[in-house]
């Protein structure tokens, strides 16, 4: 029977003694969609997973898993929510073999070696039936955990930083495999992480959380090119950050003026500029003249220090290293305002 594999969260709130941890949270996840919840520790991302799983109860709001309301008008306890979950510490039952771990949730009539072998084959661990967790690598253990979670065909999958404990060099091989398997099974997936790189590589959609609220969301490219919040701008890639005061609807920077919508009051603004904004003009009539005071090579990027003719002090900005090589010879810079993000300074 084809089940409706979706998740819908409406107006979800949750609070601890010392304040709100989840504040009016709304989210819908479609079948096969992989969503990464990204945010600093304490932003409420793990709490969100715990609420969906039913380890804790929200103070208000509604959670629907597939066709069932699991919290809100109706209440379904964790064990009946049809959810799969992977944990950072993997959590294979140490006293059980791979076979018994994978078959843990299967009823007696469904528990047979063929079913379990098929699941293991899916995660690339055929023939591991009688092994124990202690004799396997972290990646292999996480694959077993995935097979275990998939055994009862969950309606959604929750991933609580599942690749955090894996070796850096093999992490993405395993992560891509796991995500592909989940997509094949059409299971909507919510993954929690604090690593923007991981989120960009694995997610269809990234949801940025801060202090219990969604502050931004979109596809990885969308968030990189068009962030709605200074925090997500910083999170999704390198930026050079400045604070300048507006002047009659314009902000004057050493690189040029940026128009803003509010021309009535002059305010302080936070300006974040991606390295992509800086290129070298094709002909000499274009661009601004720059005197390089110092620079620091940082691999792909170079930090350049120039004189700020507006504030009268020195100013640093990030530029791609290959562009910098050209800049050193030409001392002229072209500035693309589309890569400058302006936010009111709080």
């Amino acid at each position: 029977m084809e089940t409706n594999k979706t998740l819908k969260i409406t107006d979800l709130c949750h609070s601890y003694k010392n304040g709100n941890s989840i504040n009016n949270f709304n989210l819908e996840v479609a079948p096969s969609e992989v969503i990464c919840i990204l945010g600093p520790s304490g932003c409420g991302k793990t709490t969100l997973l715990r609420l969906i799983a039913g380890f804790e109860d929200p103070t208000s709001g509604q959670i629907e898993v597939g066709d069932n309301i699991v919290f809100g008008e109706n209440y379904i306890p964790t064990e009946k929510r049809s959810i799969g979950m992977l944990f950072q510490d993997i959590a294979l039952f140490p006293h059980l073999s791979v076979k018994n771990n994978v078959g843990f949730s299967l009823s007696n009539n469904k528990f047979n070696e063929k079913v379990i072998n098929n699941l293991l084959k899916k995660v690339g661990l055929e023939g591991f039936l009688n092994r124990f967790g202690s004799s396997m690598s972290g990646g292999e253990q996480q694959r077993v955990a995935l097979a275990r979670a998939l055994a009862n065909n969950p309606n959604i999958m929750l991933l609580d930083e599942p690749f955090g404990s894996l070796d850096a060099w093999s992490k993405y091989d395993i992560a891509y495999d796991i995500i592909n398997i989940l997509k094949e099974s059409k299971t909507p997936t919510i993954m929690v992480t604090h690593d923007p790189q991981e989120a960009m590589k694995l997610a269809d959609r990234i949801v940025v959380m801060l202090e219990g609220k969604i502050i931004d969301q979109g596809s990885p490219i969308n968030l990189y090119q068009n962030p709605k919040h200074s925090f997500s701008a910083r999170l999704m890639g390198p930026v050079s950050c400045y604070i300048y005061r507006s002047n009659n609807g314009f902000i004057n920077t050493p690189f040029g003026s940026i128009k803003i919508n509010d021309s009535t009051v002059n305010n302080d603004y936070e300006i974040l500029i991606r390295p992509d904004a800086f290129t070298i003009p094709k002909n000499n009539n274009q661009g601004i003249d720059i005197e390089i005071l110092r620079f620091k090579y940082m691999g792909q990027l170079t930090e350049v220090e120039i004189k700020d003719n507006i504030k009268g002090n020195n100013l640093k900005f990030l530029i791609y290293s290959n562009v910098f090589e050209e800049l050193r010879t030409k001392n002229k810079l072209l500035f693309n305002k589309d890569w400058a993000f302006v936010f009111p300074n709080k």
Binding site: Y75, E79, K80, G84, D89, I90, F93, H95, R148
Partner: protein, 536 residues
Amino acid sequence: MISYIKNGWALLSIFLSLIVIMPILTVIFFFIIPGDTTWIHLRETVLTSYVFNSIILILFVSIGTVLIGAINAWLVAMYIFPYKKYLEWLLFMPLAIPSYALAYVYADLLGYGGFITNISSFIFDDNLKSINFYSIYGGIFVFVFSLYPYVYLLMRQAFISQSASYTEIAKISGLNPLKIIYKVSLPLSRPALVGGVSLVVMETLADYGVSDYLGINTFTKGIYKAWFNLGDITSAGKLSAILLITIAFIITFERKLRGKAQYNNEVRSNKHLKMKTLYGTSAVIAIMACFVPVFFGFIIPLATIILWSFSSIDIIYSYDFINLVFSSFGLALSASLLCVMFALIIVFGMRTNSKLVSPFARVASLGYSIPGAVAAIGILIPLAWLDNTINNISLKYLNYSTGLIITGSWCALLFAYLVRFLALSMQSVENSFIKISKSIDYAAKILGKSNRKILTNIHMKIGWGGISLGLLIVFVDVLKELPATMILRPFGLSTLAIKAHELAIDERLNDAAIPLLAIILVCLIPLYFLIKVIRQ
């Protein structure tokens, strides 16, 4: 809130905790009710001597155990010397011998016609009178050599786990070795010192066997006398309440000290102090320092009891002795199963809802610091009331007298053991469950298992080591227990400990030897595991 209600485990855990807390509340109740004439009489005559004797005992036993425990812990943690690898573990051995056994042995050896008295009179030409061991000094001697391992255990651990960085900083700052001990190592291990001394104080206050045998008027003995000799439950209850409040004060004091002194874990370093090797005279002094407490606390008592037992070995085959073994082991086994069952439910309840269950569980585990006599009084009153109520109802409606079905059976006794020893089983179970990652619970839950299945199929299987240790520790403690068993035992029931005590009081030490030996042998088993765990 919804999951609280749906979480039957949390509620069950709280309910079980409350059962254990009830006797504690009963005792506290006695503090506020007015006393009768017996109480006034007791207060005016013997209460001062109870307080005085208890304070003197606590004071000198603390000093003695700290001296022996801390010095030996320091030697073992900081130096290498010949025979250290044996002495280090032998220093734990007095834990296997009940304090009252030490009292019987030394009272005999130092008494008139005793082995040591005979030798000294031979050497000193019979001018020396026998030492009066039946006194508070005898009590101090017994407790010091019987209880110093508590201080040794905790201090040794504290010294060993102390990061070398602290001493290195002290050295760089120009402190000499003595000043380093005084200014750095000792203050750093203060929580362990306070912890060890609190255990010693609580054990001393809870004792009945030693003070009864040596004729020292302490609180516990007073409680027993008020109940049995004067038949006055109010006075027994009032004495219990005073003792309980004193102990609550000690625990609070200890927690406060420990709360402030959490500097123990600040530096997480694997770098430990480098041990120095001792040679010549200093090595001999170190060996002697470690050997003396083992000699007095373990070798002499064990050897004496073995010697006594030679002349009474035949009783092993007697019907009475087999009966004793069965009733003792039966009681100990039932109590340990009961305690571990409660512990499993409560500890698992704490896992499912820590915020809700923990406060109750913590209060319930305070029972361990309550002397057996106090716990017995706290149990006797509500259960006697229950017995009477059942009897009255049965008489009224069925015209049949049930008699004392609870206080007259093992029920009351098992309940007392539960109150006293639940904390021990909870600790073992908790220690083994703590190693099971919380994600394991979540994984099982999300895979559709109920809490009961998670407990039986996962936690009990992974944590079986801790669970069996919990069973064993309670078993041993019940086997040694005296005061609660004496107050609450049904008519005709005796245990190895009670029998040994009665025989010792009747001066039939040779006959007491076999029951004592049985207790000691069983006590050696958990001690073996304890040492094995510490070695790891």
